[in-house]
Symmetry: C2
Subunit: 228 residues, 2 copies
C-alpha cells in the first residue's frame, strides 16, 4: 500500500515535470503569450483535459514555470556566491553577476518570461515573490558581509529620498544603512538592464566583446554599492 502510494506520487512528479518541460519548449518556440495547454498535451500524447489533474489552469502552469525560472536563477546565483566564498567582496559580486548573465544566456526564454514584457492577461500571484527574491538576497548578503567586515564606502542619499530609503531598508534589510539599500536596489535593476540589453538584441552592432564589457560594467555597479 505504501509502495503503491509511492509509485503514484512518483508518477505524479514525473508527469508534472514532463508537462513543465514541454511547456518550456513551447515557451521557446511560441512565447509565453501563446503558451497553450492543448499544444502541451498534444506533445505529450495526452488529452488536454488530463492536464487539469496537474495544473488547475493555464495561468497556474505559467506561474509554475515562472517560479521554476526564478528558483533556477536563484540557485545559480547562490552557487556562484558559494564558489567565490573566499574572494574579495568585489570579486564575489562580479562572480554572482556573471552567474546571472550566464544563466540568462543559457535560458533566454525563461529569462524573458521573468524579466521581459508582462504576459497580457496574466498577473503573477504573490506565490512567485519568495523565488523572485532569491537573487536579490544574494546581493544583499554580499553587501551585508562587507558592511559588517570592512564597511561600505562613499554612499549618500539626497534629503528627498531619505524617507523612501529608510522605508526600503526597513523592508529589505533593517541591519543595513538606508544608503546601501538604495544603491543596491538601483544596482540590481541596472544589472538586469545590462543582461536584458544583451539578450534582447539592443547590443547588436554596438557591443561586441560582451563578456569583457559586462565584467567592467558590473565592477562599476559593485563600487556603486560601496564595495571596494
Amino acid at each position: 500500500m505504501s509502495t503503491a502510494q509511492g509509485a503514484r506520487a512518483r508518477a505524479r512528479i514525473e508527469v508534472t515535470a514532463a508537462i513543465k518541460e514541454a511547456a518550456r519548449r513551447q515557451l521557446a518556440e511560441e512565447g509565453a503569450a501563446k503558451l497553450s495547454l492543448r499544444a502541451v498535451a498534444r506533445e505529450l500524447g495526452m488529452v488536454s483535459s488530463a492536464l487539469y489533474r496537474y495544473f488547475p489552469s493555464r495561468d497556474e502552469l505559467l506561474t509554475a514555470l515562472i517560479i521554476d525560472a526564478y528558483d533556477s536563477l536563484g540557485a545559480a546565483a547562490e552557487q556562484a556566491r558559494d564558489a567565490a566564498a573566499g574572494a574579495a567582496a568585489v570579486a564575489r559580486w562580479t562572480a554572482v553577476c556573471e552567474a546571472v548573465r550566464g544563466w540568462a544566456l543559457a535560458h533566454p526564454h525563461e529569462y524573458a518570461l521573468i524579466y521581459g514584457s508582462p504576459v497580457p492577461g496574466y498577473a503573477a500571484p504573490q506565490t512567485t515573490v519568495p523565488a523572485a527574491a532569491r537573487v536579490g538576497l544574494v546581493f544583499i548578503g554580499i553587501v551585508r558581509d562587507t558592511h559588517e567586515d570592512s564597511g561600505l564606502a562613499g554612499l549618500a542619499v539626497p534629503d528627498g529620498l531619505r524617507p523612501e530609503a529608510e522605508r526600503m531598508a526597513a523592508d529589505l534589510a533593517p541591519d543595513l544603512p538606508p544608503e546601501a539599500i538604495t544603491a543596491l536596489v538601483a544596482a540590481w535593476a541596472q544589472l538586469f538592464g545590462l543582461v536584458s540589453f544583451e539578450l534582447f538584441g539592443q547590443f547588436n552592432k554596438v557591443v561586441e566583446d560582451r563578456e569583457a564589457f559586462f565584467r567592467h560594467a558590473v565592477t562599476g555597479l559593485a563600487h556603486g554599492v560601496g564595495l571596494r
Copy 2:
C-alpha cells in the same frame, strides 16, 4: 487630376494612420505576439485582404509600429534636452532620463514592444536602427558637450576592455574618449534597466516613491559617465 491624386494620397496616409492606431490598441490588449492583421481589419470595419494594400505583411506592420515607437521616444528625449538647454550637464542628463521614463509610463505597451522580450518569429530589420539610435544620440550629445566644455571626470577602462572600447568609440563617437563611450553604453543599458523594472512590475512592493528613486539613480548614472 492632381487634386484627385492629392486626395488619394491623403486618404492613404489617413488609413495608414488608422491601421497603426488600431494595431497599437491591439498591442495593448493582446501583446505583440498575438498582433493579427485580421483583428485590426475587423476593428476598422475593413476586410483583412484590404490591409495588404497598406502593409505587405504582419511583420511589416510590426516594424512600422516599432519605428514609430522609437521615433516617439526619441522625440521626447530630444524635446527634454532642448527644454533644458541652459542647465548644467547633470541636470540635462537627468531631464532626458526623466523624459524617457515619462514616455515609457505613458506608452507602456509600445515600450514593451521595443525594450521588452523579442517577439517570437520576428526579427527587426535594419530599417529600425536609425530610429532606435535617436535616444542614444541625445545622451552622446550631452556627454560630448561636457567633454568639449569642461571635460569628463574620473573615467577609466581596464586593459582587457581597451580594444573593445576603442572599437565602440570609433563606431559611435570618434571624437570622444573610449572610456566615455564605454561608460555611456553601460549607463544607457542601466537606465533602461531602471525603467523596465518599474514598468514590468519588478519594483512592486520594493520601491514606492519611484520618481525620487529614479531621479537619484540616474544622477548616479550621470556621474558614472563623467558628468559633474
